[in-house]
């Protein structure tokens, strides 16, 4: 089983890196939330992988922690979505930065869509 655990641990760390990258580059708030949720998944994957170490059944306490993690993450996400919709209603913004950021390059973002 250890070989697979190593694989999943590798995946978790790549996902964590991608999540952090996403949080840093995202402009649109929905994108930031996607990235934060991705980071959350990476943390939970790590937790489960750690709980699956050893020979017996997977650790039930880590599993309960993960269920809690999922619930907390949907609570926070839904609050963020409600805030986002309210923000758009009031200010017409979907980004936090007051100034619209220049679209940048390699993702091929259409310039001037705003």
């Amino acid at each position: 089983m250890t070989a697979s655990l190593t694989l999943y641990m590798l995946a978790a760390s790549v996902l964590a890196g991608l999540g952090i990258y996403g949080v840093l580059i995202a402009g649109h708030l929905l994108r930031k939330l996607l990235a934060l949720n991705l980071l959350g998944m990476a943390v939970l994957l790590m937790l489960i992988t750690l709980g699956a170490r050893g020979t017996g059944a997977p650790d039930p306490v880590t599993q309960a922690m993960v269920i809690t993690g999922i619930i907390i993450s949907i609570s926070a996400t839904s609050l963020a979505l409600a805030l986002l919709l309210a923000l758009q209603r009031v200010t017409d913004e979907t980004h936090l930065d007051a100034e619209p950021l220049p679209p940048v390059g390699e993702d091929g973002d259409a310039a001037g869509s705003r």
């Binding site: 949080v23 943390v43 609570s75 309210a86 936090l96």
Partner: protein
């Protein structure tokens, strides 16, 4: 039915929780009445629990009758007893303010249930001996607190709440990863038990750093403070008061528990502690200068929080300053809550939060201006006040440790605080310009003024109650061995100590 005192700890969590549920079911009128009543009930219970604590020392309660590692432990000791008092008093004062300023209308319907839920979560967090339960408590408190910032759905407040929420989510994930690592190496979540099982070494350091990093973000410690001023500056006044006085403090409380109660057997902790304290120094200088430059009253008060949080990091470099630090935490909590309420009243009276509108205000709402002044006395550390006692204790500790940099910083901090607060006074007591004389000034509800005044007087009163409060506050376990103020800090045990 005979309840053990430890079982009474549950009511500190469940009285506000059930009140929140009742507020959901019965509406705003019931909610605000319950909020005030719950605070009074909590105060009575804390009196009783405090008595038991003085007689018998710390006690704890294993929930479901299952001890750690599997079970969850609620625990009361001197540190959280004092913080529970802070929560109760600040909540009592701010709830009375909100009684009038939020009311029982449509705003009240939305306000009171999360307000009470946050109280329950704060108490639950403070009582918990479990790293994971504290995480959930902090999440509930943050979610409720963030939603209340946006109570009036103003653009600034919505942006601030969003920014706060995103950083809070990031901070909790980092903290959660740290907890996962602790559980993976110790098989326990109770901080005392897990701490005693930590093996030391790189993995332990990683866990500690992750938990610390997440909590620093949530406590808005410089340079991670960016989200705080807009959030605290744009929330309704009672909410700003609770955010500054309590919500940023409980994540620091968790940090203290992790650093000083887990007895982490790592040799490099002293230099890491120096780094934390250096961040505190940065907060002190940066926050004060930023406060000097603000043009809006509530933002000035919010930047003052950024600065004052810096003092609370001193203890990581100077364990001898433990008592002074906690004293500062309490005094700042009371004074800052009073100051936000008073500032809220001043803004309410003027209909604007611009500093240049302040002149002549002292004649119209003297009670609120006086409350602001009393709170300022404590924040500046002038005698007699809780702030003075706190700074005196910290100075003595720094002096005894010959930490001259810190002596200098503590003095500079007080001077800078005086500078930005005197700016407010100078404007408030200045005569009104003839052009502005005609502008109407609204009188706040007496409850709004009295609640600010009462909290400010408590902050001043703390200047007279040093000894009894400090007696309650025993030294944390890790500071005990030879931790007379000034001795080189025994911040860590020897690696692999039993």
């Amino acid at each position: 039915m005979q309840l053990a005192p430890a079982e009474l700890l549950l009511s500190l969590v469940f009285a506000p929780l059930l009140a929140a549920i009742a507020a959901v079911m019965l509406g705003a009128r019931a909610g605000r009445l319950l909020a005030v009543m719950v605070c009074l009930v909590l105060a009575i219970q804390l009196l009783f629990l405090g008595q038991r604590f003085s007689a018998d020392g710390p006690f704890d309660l294993a929930l479901a009758g299952i001890a750690p590692p599997l079970g969850i432990r609620l625990a009361l000791d001197g540190l959280n007893l004092l913080l529970l008092w802070l929560v109760t008093l600040v909540y009592l004062g701010t709830s009375l303010h909100a009684w009038a300023s939020i009311g029982a209308g449509a705003r009240g319907t939305a306000f009171w249930p999360p307000w009470l839920l946050m109280l329950s979560a704060l108490n639950g967090l403070l009582l918990s001996g479990d790293l994971f339960t504290m995480y959930i408590g902090l999440e509930i408190a943050s979610l409720s607190g963030i939603s209340l910032i946006a109570l009036d759905r103003k653009a600034d407040a919505l942006r601030a709440a969003m920014r706060y929420l995103l950083l809070a989510m990031l901070g909790s994930l980092v903290y959660l990863l740290g907890v996962a690592v602790v559980y993976a190496i110790t098989g326990a979540l109770d901080f005392a038990l897990a701490g005693s099982r930590l093996p030391g070494g790189a993995v332990t350091i990683a866990a500690l750093l992750l938990m610390t990093g997440g909590l620093l973000l949530k406590s808005a410690i410089f340079p991670l403070h960016g989200w705080l001023p807009p959030a605290h500056g744009s929330a309704p006044p009672p909410e700003s008061a609770v955010l500054s006085a309590l919500l940023v403090k409980v994540s620091l409380y968790m940090l203290y528990r992790i650093w000083f109660w887990m007895e982490v057997p790592v040799a490099g902790l002293v230099s890491a502690g120096q780094l934390l304290a250096a961040m505190g120094a940065g907060a002190l200088v940066y926050g004060s200068i930023a406060a000097l430059r603000q043009q809006q009253l509530k933002y000035l008060v919010a930047y003052s929080t950024v600065a004052q949080l810096g003092y609370l990091m001193l203890v990581f470099a100077l364990p001898g300053a433990w008592q002074g630090t906690i004293y500062h935490l309490l005094a700042h909590g009371l004074a800052k809550a009073a100051m936000f309420l008073a500032a809220g009243n001043m803004i309410w009276a003027l209909g604007s939060d611009r500093l240049d509108r302040l002149p002549g205000l002292d004649r119209h709402i003297p009670a609120s201006v006086f409350a602001f002044a009393l709170a300022a006395v404590s924040l500046m550390g002038l005698p007699p006040s809780g702030g003075f006692t706190a700074k005196w204790l910290m100075l003595t500790a720094a002096w005894a440790a010959q930490a001259w940099v810190w002596v200098l910083l503590l003095l500079t901090g007080s001077l800078l605080t005086a500078a930005y607060l005197f700016r407010v006074f100078a404007l408030t007591f200045a005569p009104r310009s003839p052009r502005r004389r005609a502008q109407p000034v609204r009188r706040p509800h007496p409850l709004m003024e009295l609640s600010a005044l009462a909290l400010a007087m408590l902050a001043i009163g703390m200047g007279f109650s040093g000894t009894p409060l400090l007696d309650v506050l025993a030294l944390p376990p890790q500071l005990l061995p030879g931790a007379a103020p000034g001795l080189p800090a025994p911040l860590h045990l020897t690696p692999g100590a039993p």
